[in-house]
């Protein structure tokens, strides 16, 4: 059974039709990189996967559970799907440690000491063992994004969604974030990554989705998609970005 199944997903913002009947299945431990021009709907697609955007039509199954049908349980379902944002969205009024421990303590009833122990482990994992008591505003972009990844992982999600996680970083900080994501992929996390980092997509992605015109225009393994794209639009896009 796929971990994520998307059936005929439509999303419109008023008159603007962004997603026009998107179908896909994503398996456990698969790393899917979503590429495409801006405005092609890739972020909207990702945000539909945890209902941050309400689909106009269609259904999304997460571990077999239809989200649209179970909208009332969305808060519980979202606990199983972690998300990392382009602009980090760390909570600026809390220390790094509190950012990470808040959700496990409040939503899972984890004790403070347990949550902090877990947070410290996660900070070690993302390479920031000594930033516990810093406020987010004192961190660099790359450090913020790594804390944001740790915050999402603290809920033990089954799936991680990444919405252009390196797009607002200075070039020298992109690597440190991508490395954390690579480690995560190696550990077998199911990941959907909207990205402009073609190098990362090639190296880490199990499957590349090229989005255009509100659908998955072409998809395949990195070798297939990058080396021998079948459709003209795909070739044109890759010609521009590679």
């Amino acid at each position: 059974m796929p971990v994520i199944e998307v059936v005929d997903l439509h999303k419109s913002f008023g008159e603007l039709r962004v997603l026009k009947g998107l179908n896909t299945r994503i398996n456990k431990q698969e790393v899917v990189c979503v590429i495409g021009a801006s405005g092609s709907g890739k972020s909207t697609f990702l945000r539909c996967l945890n209902l941050l955007e309400e689909p106009t039509a269609g259904e999304i199954y997460i571990e077999g559970i239809p989200l649209m049908e179970h909208r009332k349980d969305i808060n519980r379902l979202r606990q199983r799907v972690g998300m990392v944002f382009q602009l980090f969205n760390l909570f600026p009024h809390m220390t790094v440690l509190d950012n990470i421990t808040l959700a496990p303590m409040k939503l899972k009833g984890m004790t403070k000491s347990k949550a902090e122990e877990k947070a410290r482990d996660l900070l070690d994992k993302v390479g920031l063992p000594d930033k516990n008591n810093e406020y987010p505003n004192r961190l660099s972009g790359g450090q913020k994004q790594r804390v944001a990844i740790a915050r999402a992982l603290a809920m033990d999600p089954q799936i991680m969604l990444f919405d252009e996680p390196t797009s607002s970083l200075d070039p020298e900080m992109v690597g440190e974030v991508l490395n954390v994501m690579k480690d995560l992929a190696k550990e077998g996390m199911t990941m959907v990554v909207v990205t402009h980092e073609m190098g990362f997509a090639k190296e880490v992605g199990d499957r590349i989705m090229f989005m255009d015109e509100g659908i998955i225009f072409e998809e395949g393994s990195p070798q297939e998609l990058f080396n021998s794209p079948q459709r003209d639009r795909t070739k044109e896009f890759l010609g521009k970005v590679l």
């Binding site: 606990q79 909570f91 808040l102 959700a103």
Partner: protein, 227 residues
């Protein structure tokens, strides 16, 4: 030189000492401060409720709040005070200060509503999304994430609103409440000296507002410790 000192000491004697007129100023100040405190508390409460009603997703409630805010902000406070006193609450047995507190509280609530709403809206919308993506409900996201950040935006403006309120209560004399400004007016009526009592009143207001401004500055600095 001697005549100036003589004029000044005479003015102070007639306006403050004679017939213990200083008592009028002191009790007037007491009334003004009480009135400000009660209306500020009531106004904050009303404002909070109105802001939450306006931010909620119930359309007719939002319209009602908008109408209320428009009416209050579009009419003079003194007219509202007199109307509420005579037409609405004049027939009840409530003490005048309570009536005035309600009038000023209703007035201030409209302004506070907009302050709180603006403060909440100013929090980056990514904050709500991050909280929701972790699995927090809308209400809990507000409580843990949005409101603590909004308070930083709101408090300076709210402090300012209280200072405005203190000065605004100077119209309480319209319903025969003996506040600080009216104390000045009473003394003027006795001494036929307009300058001394009102300069005194002005100095007292200025002193209090300066103290409040300082207090707010200190509070603000502490709130921004995490920046």
């Amino acid at each position: 030189m001697e005549s100036i000192i003589k004029t000044l000491s005479d003015a102070i004697y007639f306006n403050l000492i004679r017939e213990q007129r200083y008592v009028l100023f002191i009790s007037g100040l007491g009334i003004s401060l009480q009135l400000t405190l009660y209306s500020a508390l009531l106004g904050t409460l009303i404002g909070l409720f109105l802001a939450l009603a306006k931010l909620g997703r119930v359309k007719w409630l939002e319209g009602l709040v908008t109408a209320y805010v428009d009416i209050i902000r579009g009419t003079p406070a003194v007219v509202q005070l007199v109307l509420i006193y005579y037409a609405i609450l004049g027939s009840s047995s409530l003490p005048k200060i309570a009536v005035a507190s309600i009038a000023f509280g209703l007035n201030s609530g409209a302004y506070v509503c907009e302050l709180i709403r603006a403060g909440i809206m100013a929090v980056d919308k990514g904050q709500m999304e991050a909280a929701r993506s972790l699995g927090f409900s809308y209400a809990r996201s507000m409580i843990y994430i949005i409101i603590p950040q909004a308070i930083k935006n709101i408090l300076p403006a709210l402090g300012n609103e209280f200072i405005v309120l203190l000065k605004e209560t100077a119209i309480a004399g319209y319903i025969a409440l003996d506040d600080l400004t009216r104390a000045g007016d009473i003394v003027r009526g006795r001494t036929f000296d307009a300058y001394t009592p009102f300069i005194l009143v002005a100095i007292i207001y200025l002193l209090i507002t300066s103290i409040l401004t300082r207090l707010m500055g200190g509070l603000e600095r502490r709130l921004h410790a995490s920046d």
